[in-house]
Amino acid sequence: MNDYEKLKQLLFEEERHKIDELELLLKKSIEESTDATTIVEKISPLLSDIFSKTIEQNKAEFIAIFAPLISDMLQSTIQDSSDKIAKVMSPIISLAIKDQVKNEKDDIVDALYPVIGNMISKFVSQSFKEMINEINTKVQSTFSYETLKRKMIAKIKGVSETELLLQSSTKLNKVESVFLIHKESGLLVSERSLENHESIEPEMVASMLSAIRSFVNDWISKNSDSLELNEIEFGNYTIYLEVAGCCYLAVVLSGTSNRALQNKITSVLEFLVKKYSDAIANFEGDKSKLDLDEINKHLDTLLENESEVSAAQKEKQNYTFFWILGVLVFAALSVYFYISYSNQTLQEKIERSLHENPHFNLYDISIDVGYKSVVIAGKLPYESLHQNLLQSIKPFLTRRILEDKIVLAYAPLTVEEINKELAIAFAMLNIDDGNRIRYKLNGNSVTIHGIIKSKKNYDKVLSKISSIEGIRQIISDVEYDFSQNGLKIYYGVSKSKLTQEKMNLLDLWIKSSKVRKTLELYNDLNLLVMGFSDGRGALQKNIYYAQERAKKVYKYLIKKGIPSSRISFIASPTPLAEMVNEKSYEGRLVQIKWIKNDN
């Protein structure tokens, strides 16, 4: 007997009569009408009754009979119309899962664990694939400043370019709210939030954070005052705490904090503390006493949204790049300026030393000091000057090489040029006291005349003059070591006549002492004729003779060509003390002396 017959037996055993009734009814109905629907309509109310009653009485058996059928039924139904089944089942399934998770959490976790691992790895690998594709397109994108920079950074850091791109493609944190809190009282100074992220009870949060901060600080850093609670993390959120003297900032951000953001927070707090530290320190809960708008403006900078933050960061990175560039340029410039400055100073030094030698001033000599070399160029009239120049520059060269571009131009010098040269040469010579040299240029011959103290100086002058190009002949009429000798002429008692003998003596003196030449060369020397008497006898007489003696010599000298402007006479009735000795005649004399005039 199969299941069906068993069921039939079960169903019909106790209600055979009812079935008989049914049979009768059926027959009757069929007779009455051939329409199937009417039959179904008529039987259906009965069927439910039949089933419900049977199930009530023999539930277990009923289930046993149907159970194997149900799976088949389901299978075939799912095959035929899976959509419908899904629709029917879905609300139940979600409820069932919820219920199951609630009651058997651990079991579910265990069951799902292996599957989830696979799911996640599949998802992650898929995401990575997409990301890598994105990166590849980025890498392959056209050459730009960004790619160049990235390539450079990758090279410098030794990190792959992809890694850098990964860093840049990672999402940044989002600051959702910022609390500025009075440290001591925990009162809220100001709170700023992103739109749609408004904090609930910010005052409470501020106080609670302060309490937590105090608690943690008290609990952990019992022995160290400098420790601070910096971060509170929960799930994907971080509260970053930045503490200053009178207040602290609590920044709520999704994602973990990063250095750039921390720096930003620090700088904002730093600014606020700097500007409002007194106001905040004295905060007594009355916000109207604070410049809240200004404070909020600064706090709002922390709330800049992601794109703004990343833009700001990009900008910052750009700034760093420009900073580096700027520093490099500055360094290059300073090296350049240092070199050119040192070149410049050396050049000035050389030029100054050349200026000290007047010869070089006459010619246009250009000196160009470079980093490695010193270039001299220009025209010099003769080799000795050229060699002189090279010798002058040599001590300045140190590490530099001398590039000599001096051209010797033997072109005959003009008279002015030669005169200039000569003037310099003689001016130098005449600086020495006692040298009195004049020169005369006549065509290409120089006539030198004068008095020179030492032969050495004179040789210098000669070599200088001979080195001047354009001078062919030097006529020298120079005398050495002139001493300005005076003259004493003695007289007999009561004698004042300038005898022939005395005149000869004067002539000889004029000649031998080169009086005329001396007067010519020494503008500052004048002649003084002093007449004396022996001081014996009448004063009147003595005065007379002294005067007569001097006057006669004076007149004679003028007659001999001594300019009257350069000579004068005086008389004294008594001889000078130094002149007095046993010989009485020695008091009667005329003394001619060179005196320096004061004009």
């Binding site: 105090s214 608690f215 008290d218 007594e284």
Partner: protein, 168 residues
């Protein structure tokens, strides 16, 4: 609106937390109290028609050893409420100690005293003697209230008095 920090101190189990629960608009879960030793609550006090004050009430965990209280919780407070259990003499005896501690950390800050759990008191005479004793021994206290967190007696008055003293 002006916000002020008010602290509640007093011996263990004097009913500080109950007083606050009776009074405040908002508070964090009581769990915090046992964790970090302080519970924060907020209350708006309408002082006058125009003047409204926001109180941040720090309910500091009562300890038997006074020195243990974290001074950071006390610092920066604008008002102090010292709570004693009127049925426990020891908690009343400690009120001057709590006041002294607060006055040491806070300069010129108004304080009020709440003698709580008066609903449990059967004899009015007993209460009166306590109050007179405290009046004699406390300095710098604005007012002493006989409060009950249970029936709400004098709770509003307690906070209002302190608020007015803070704004003085």
């Amino acid at each position: 609106m002006i916000t002020k920090k008010v602290i509640l101190i007093g011996d263990f189990a004097t009913g500080k937390t109950s007083l606050i629960r009776r009074y405040v608009d908002n508070q964090f879960s009581d769990d915090y109290l046992t964790t970090i030793g302080v519970k924060i609550s907020k209350k708006h006090v309408q002082i006058s028609q125009e003047l409204e004050l926001q109180l941040m009430i720090w309910d500091i965990e009562g300890r038997t050893d006074l020195k243990e209280t974290n001074p950071a919780y006390v610092l920066g407070a604008h008002g102090v409420i010292i709570v004693g259990d009127s049925t426990r003499q020891a908690s009343i005896d400690n009120i001057p100690l709590h006041l002294k501690l607060a006055q040491k950390l806070l300069k010129n800050v108004p304080a009020v005293v709440a003698l709580n759990k008066v609903d449990l008191l059967t004899e009015d005479v007993q209460m009166k003697s306590i109050v007179s004793y405290l009046h004699d021994s406390l300095e710098g206290v604005e007012e002493i209230f006989e409060t009950s967190a249970k029936d709400g007696r004098n709770v509003e008055e307690l906070f209002l008095s302190l608020s007015k003293a803070i704004l003085k």
